[in-house]
């Protein structure tokens, strides 16, 4: 926690992450070769897949800190879980919005009730529910119920990941399928993936800090009100 707080104070981290985003965009459009089948549209893949993997990580962090909260009952764990879920939701929105644009070109349809798409939509809806629940309840109840929902919602992540295998759909490539990926494409994707991980970490620190200050403020304000009364 102390390391996270220390890092968040550093402006260099924000500058580096912003620079990495621009480098990623440059590499995608100028360095990575055009894929033979999907041609230019394949370049959506770099952000789409990287965002999808970051979603797994973000909801994984939410899952771990939800469990930790239920065991230790520390409010900081709940705040970190909520921050991770919020950023995961942003990345999940990116996946759900960029996917249909790709699908329109590749499958000639904006949306289809295919296993992976449907399970991703369910995942997104569950975390929307997570935030509705958080806003509807107060303090201890909010923390406990949202931790439980965070744990339950995470079980959809492996379903999303293994959906193509479980339901044998032909639209998304199967896990581990051998794709004709050129070295420039692989290198670009690796850099984009690292950029997304750093971006996730930076946003997590920022959001966690904000939530922590908010929580402290609420505590002080409550105490102040009690003193006044």
């Amino acid at each position: 926690m102390a390391i996270l707080r220390g890092l968040s104070k550093s402006l260099y981290v924000y500058a580096i992450s912003a620079l990495l985003v621009f480098i990623s965009i440059y590499l995608i459009f100028s360095y990575a070769q055009v894929e033979k089948t999907m041609l230019e549209v394949q370049k959506i893949f770099y952000f789409h897949v990287s965002a999808a993997i970051t979603v797994y990580i973000a909801f994984g962090v939410n899952f771990l800190f939800s469990i930790k909260y239920l065991i230790k009952r520390k409010s900081d764990d709940d705040l970190l879980a909520a921050a991770a879920a919020e950023i995961g939701l942003v990345f999940c929105t990116v996946v759900l919005l960029s996917g249909p644009i790709w699908a329109r070109y590749a499958w000639d349809t904006w949306w289809t009730w295919e296993a992976r798409l449907t399970s991703t939509l369910v995942l997104w809806l569950m975390y929307i529910g997570y935030f509705i629940l958080r806003s509807a309840l107060t303090d201890d109840k909010r923390r406990i119920y949202s931790a439980v929902l965070g744990i339950i919602a995470f079980f959809d992540v492996p379903i999303v990941h293994f959906a193509t295998k479980l339901w044998e759909t032909k639209m998304h490539p199967e896990r581990g399928a051998k794709l004709d990926v050129l070295p420039t494409m692989r290198n670009t994707w690796m850099i984009v993936l690292v950029t997304f991980f750093i971006l996730f970490a930076v946003l997590l620190i920022l959001q966690y800090r904000t939530k922590r200050i908010e929580s402290r403020y609420d505590g002080i304000a409550q105490k102040h009100l009690q003193e006044l009364n």
Partner: protein, 118 residues
Amino acid sequence: MRIVIVLCCLIVIALLFSALQVPIIDISEIEKAINDVKSESQVNIEDEEALKKTVNLVVKELESDQRTRLKYLVSAYLVIWLVFMLYLVRLGRQQQALDQRLAQLEQETSDSQDESIE
């Protein structure tokens, strides 16, 4: 913060729209390429006009296809960028509101301290 966001948006939009610029091949270039191929391969082409017309149509179709693909690509990246920017704006507003609340609390605390001294 706002200036940085607006600047980032402008840079990315400029980058993406520059990607949309498909190199347009004009007729003179097509004619030159046909003449080059003819002289290199020494193939006798009888109806030169028909050949030029066909090549021209093929080039136009390829350009149109490429434009369509680039439109999908650019719109996907714009949507992604928009989501991130909206989230950053939200974060900025959240922090601004928090600063205001803290300033208000500080003011109230100092006021109540003054009252207790009096």
